[in-house]
């Protein structure tokens, strides 16, 4: 009898755990992109319990949503992926009446070309993909992408293991658009990357800042947030937005078509649009946010740091990566040739 009661209690508990009262939210977000503290506060404030999974590539989001088997209510894709997800009909239009904090978004980050009118996405964090270098080892100031192709730094260069970003660098050095789909321009970029390969110590997208700090490389291509943290810790390091320009990217909060907690997802987006909350993410993660109301909550040192918040002149040189469409296949072929050499 005792056992029977225990079983009943257990089943009831299980039943409670499985009950879906709409007060739940499943978030799929980049690694190191939100703090547990913030999620707990959200739960305390709204009663919505949050579960989150992390990913390390936009393609993982596409794959999960396209498979139709995902259970996510919030995803955080980068600009070009928002465009693809919208084209594929995998996102729901946002209900602006529920997003009372929309006015907080910095005007220049509204209505970006990948999602006109912010119909499906709200900017979360943004940054640039430049390079950082060790001033003491290199011995001079660097301001150009030419540095990552310079024979003098042979075996001391780290490049992101990322087809789009590496082609972007090579295309820019050659004076072409990073979004070029021109066959001869891409072939020239491939040849440059093949020539660069003996100089590259490693292609790495996950630990570029750590490897730079360890001294194994002197110049590291990478995202500004992690590199900014490395620069804070080691005064010999400096981050550069090269004179040829670089990628600026924006990660965005979106709601997948398959979301089952659309109401809760809107509440979450609105919560993250509050200056205090997104400001806390900036303080913790070192990336910039596109939110004017957050400025009073962000540490002044971060706001004043040109690595995190580049000035207008530097930003003018940067541009968003576009959707490559069919041309992606040619880049993949060329990238495979670079990596196979």
């Amino acid at each position: 009898m005792k056992r029977f009661i225990a079983l009943c209690v257990l089943l009831t508990l299980l039943g409670c755990g499985g009950k879906d009262d709409g007060k739940r939210l499943n978030v799929y977000i980049w690694t190191n992109y939100i703090t547990q503290e913030l999620l707990s506060q959200f739960t305390a404030q709204t009663g919505i319990r949050v579960k989150f999974d992390v990913y390390d590539s936009n393609e993982a989001v596409l794959e999960k949503l396209a498979s139709g088997a995902s259970d996510y209510d919030i995803v955080v894709p980068t600009d070009y992926m928002v465009r693809i997800l919208v084209k594929q009909g995998l996102l729901v239009p946002l209900d602006r009446s529920k997003l009372t904090n929309l006015a907080n978004i910095t005007p220049k980050f509204r209505d970006l070309p990948f999602d006109p009118g912010n119909r499906h996405s709200v900017p979360y964090l943004w940054g640039t993909t430049g390079f950082a270098y060790n001033k003491a080892k290199v011995g001079k100031a660097l301001d150009s992408w030419v540095a990552v192709f310079d024979e003098r730094w042979k075996g001391r260069v780290l490049m992101l293991d990322d087809m789009r970003e590496c082609f972007g660098v090579a295309l820019r050095v050659l004076g072409y658009s990073a979004n070029s789909t021109n066959v001869s321009e891409l072939a020239a970029a491939r040849d440059l990357l093949v020539k660069q390969k003996p100089l590259v110590k490693t292609y790495n997208s996950s630990d570029f800042a750590g490897i730079l700090r360890s001294g194994d490389v002197w110049i590291a291509h990478g995202y500004n947030g992690e590199l900014a943290k490395a620069c804070d810790e080691d005064k010999n390091l400096a981050y550069v937005i090269p004179k040829e320009g670089c990628t600026v990217w924006v990660d965005n909060l979106c709601i997948p078509k398959s979301a089952r907690h659309v109401e809760a997802a809107h509440a979450f987006i609105n919560y993250m649009l509050e200056g205090k909350n997104i400001g806390a993410v900036v303080n913790a993660m070192s990336y910039a946010c596109a939110n004017d109301a957050a400025r009073p909550f962000i540490k002044p040192a971060l706001l004043a740091d040109p690595t995190r918040y580049p000035d207008e002149a530097a930003l003018k040189r940067c541009n968003l990566l576009g959707d490559l469409g069919e041309s992606l296949q040619l880049r993949d072929r060329y990238w495979t040739e670079v990596k196979a050499k």
């Binding site: 590539s57 393609e59 993982a60 596409l62 794959e63 396209a66 693809i84 084209k87 594929q88 075996g155 293991d161 990322d162 087809m163 789009r164 390969k197 590259v200 110590k201 490693t202 292609y203 790495n204 360890s214 001294g215 194994d216 469409g325 069919e326 992606l328 296949q329 993949d332 072929r333 990238w335 495979t336 040739e337 990596k339 196979a340």
Partner: protein
């Protein structure tokens, strides 16, 4: 006795084996069938599938740009297998034939202990050992043997070290199992009939341990051929192997049909090798251990 004979009827035998078939069918055969089907479809623009059927993915998989990658993968797999064999044979031989019986389980446990830690963690450990400021370079520099750190990490050598380290237990255990079963009286007979130690080893021990040796070779060669984490982490993602090629097609390249075709080609290649080996062994009149 009754229950035992009941188990022998075909009906119960089928019941007993059904979990195996269920697992194999759901987790191995079904995915393989999906991959085979995928490999004849066309790629959609954003990672989707357009109905085929087409052979284009297979034609493309034999282009010269890709054959370099296969050649490098086979080379790495062969080199890993040979190195593992050279390292493992003496270890297995010692544990099976030379070690004191009460020591054997301890020695075998030492071979298996690395499996208690995740493969990824062990690979990261190698990164700390091999890097410029790592254990080896710091040691050599503090001893004054070298003045500049040796480039160890992010080289083909690092890939080989990582691969061999990961695969060695898969070679030691089957060879040990074969040697352990070896009938010692055959060795004594060989010596009685005038064979020296070397002759007895080559003409009695090695042939009798062949099933385990071949099993070890197969167990090491196949995973080595498809490896993709080691070349990324220890090789610095500089020498693309077929595992990386397939992974990229399912990831950033958004081309599952081509990725599937390469994977099927790899599978066919491995099957052809095993089949060739089985034929060769049968002609020699050996028992086929596969």
């Amino acid at each position: 006795m009754k229950s035992r004979s009941a188990l022998r009827t075909p009906h119960s035998a089928f019941l007993l084996i059904s979990p195996t078939w269920l697992v194999l069918g759901l987790l191995f055969l079904a995915p393989l069938a999906i991959m085979l089907w995928l490999s004849f479809q066309q790629r959609g623009l954003y990672g989707g599938i357009e109905p085929g059927p087409t052979l284009a993915n297979y034609v493309r998989s034999f282009e010269s740009g890709y054959t370099i990658i296969y050649a490098r993968s086979v080379w790495i797999a062969v080199a890993t297998t040979m190195t593992c064999l050279l390292v493992s044979y003496p270890v297995a031989y010692y544990i099976a034939l030379k070690a004191r019986p009460e020591r054997k389980s301890l020695l075998l446990a030492l071979v298996v202990i690395p499996f208690w830690t995740s493969f990824l963690v062990r690979t990261y450990a190698w990164m700390f050992i091999l890097r410029d400021q790592g254990v080896i370079n710091s040691l050599l520099m503090s001893l004054g043997i070298i003045h500049e750190p040796l480039p160890l990490l992010y080289t083909p050598l690092a890939v080989m070290i990582g691969q061999v380290y990961a695969e060695v237990p898969f070679m030691v255990l089957p060879i040990y199992a074969s040697l352990e079963k070896l009938d010692r009286s055959l060795l004594e007979a060989a010596r009685d009939l005038g064979a020296g130690a070397a002759a007895a080893f080559w003409r009695v021990t090695v042939p009798l341990a062949m099933p385990g040796t071949v099993a070890g070779i197969v167990l090491v060669f196949i995973p080595s051929l498809g490896t993709f984490i080691t070349p990324d982490l220890l090789g610095g993602a500089k020498g693309m192997l077929v595992g990386n090629l397939i992974q990229n097609q399912f990831g950033p390249a958004l081309n599952k049909p081509f990725g599937s075709a390469v994977a099927m080609t790899l599978t066919a290649f491995v099957l052809a090798l095993l089949w060739a080996y089985a034929g060769w062994a049968r002609r020699r009149g050996e028992e086929v251990a596969l």
